[in-house]
Amino acid sequence: MVKAYRPTSLDYALDILDQEPLYILAGGTDLMVKKRRWSGLSPSFDKNVLFISDIEELNKIEENDKYIIIGSGATCAQISEDTNLPYYIRAVFTNMASPGIRNLATIGGNIGNSSPAGDSLPILYAMDADLVLASKNSYRIVPIIDFIIGPGKNIKKDNEIIKEIRIPKVNFNKIMIKKVGTRLSTALSKLSFAGLGVMENNKITDFRAAFGAVGPKIVRNIEAEKAVIVLINSNSINEDNIRNLYSADITPIDDQRSTAVYRKEVCLRLLIEFIRTLGEGK
């Protein structure tokens, strides 16, 4: 039987984590399933476990002039119900899993899992979110785009906890959020899309697009985004040049949820549709 720690302060949690490598368990909705055995038997953890869901300082959602700051322990339900947050962030979390899971599952867990199909990731990538990784006596700030390095792989060290997610505030006025799954509830994404833009005085000044579940990591191409802005503002954007800019980046696979062909085509069509709506307001 493994040991479990249940600290109520972050400092104490980081102290413990500095002594030995541990499974960090917040909501548990992924880890408890991954480690499960037959009913009646305890899950098979091979390292001791650190429960962090009772650390209140990790569960806060705040904002200042520059950033929205979401504690890594904030649950999907908490984020989806927080009326101070932009609706497009909330919507992503409202569309995840089911009520019983949303009450447990956390944003930090979704990021830490680093699945290319993680539903919270495209919007966080599109919004240039930074992660604050805390360890005993230190912390570092890492852009989410650099944090995840492959399916299920990230650069978090064993003695670090994702403390919070900092999202720079931008007044996006063009928004498209889409999750494509088999059904509304409890579905893993076939693909997901987050498109954000700013239009000022009939010009697009900011354009971002992120795609989930169509490659080993979330796809975002900042060079292509710059090109799209120029093409829109010069009225020379068309379906072909959008496809040319993005086709090479969107590299999905066939799996039990969907096919590569479907995923790629739907991604490109969502992107084309989003860009069309950007042109419309001009």
Binding site: R36, S42, P43, F45, V49, P99, S185
Partner: protein
């Protein structure tokens, strides 16, 4: 590890593996077989319980995290007037066939009405979206929740 929590309005303590699933603790240690295991991976909702008045799939909840929490299963809900209204509404709507999903559906109904005492049909669907029923096709269950909300005016 010793874990103390409140179960169905009583303070309880158990000394067990902190990673043991709440589902197994409720069924095997507290003999509350109303809490069902369907899928064991959070898909079906048959193991739903209330933790601090929020619906949670107990198959994903290690008992070590229960310290200091209030946990309610259908067995505890039975002591309330609201339960009587939900039970009668499910009966009158013909919402129960094999019954396996019903403890979870009852918890989902209670959780929904606690948050939203007058839910629309869409909100009811969303409220029970984590609970699978393989018999009814859901329409009668949705009717039942609607009836419960109407009859229970002022209780939630």
């Amino acid at each position: 590890m010793k874990i103390r929590f409140n179960l169905n309005f009583e303070d309880v303590e158990i000394d067990t593996d902190p990673l043991k699933r709440l589902l197994d603790v409720l069924r095997d240690d507290f003999l509350l077989s109303s809490v069902k295991e369907g899928c064991g991976e959070g898909e079906c909702g048959a193991c739903s319980v209330l933790i601090n008045n929020k619906i949670v799939t107990s198959c994903m909840f290690p008992i070590g995290k229960a310290e200091g929490k209030n946990i309610i299963t259908v067995d505890g809900l039975k002591k309330t007037k609201k339960y009587e209204i939900i039970r009668k509404a499910f009966q009158d709507a013909g919402a129960v066939q094999c019954g396996f999903c019903i403890p979870g559906m009852t918890i989902a109904t209670e959780a929904l009405l606690l948050k939203n005492p007058r839910p629309s049909i869409e909100e009811i669907k969303e409220g029970i979206s984590g609970n699978l029923c393989r018999c009814t096709g859901y329409n009668m269950i949705i009717d039942a929740v609607k009836i419960a909300a109407e009859r229970g005016k002022g209780l939630w």
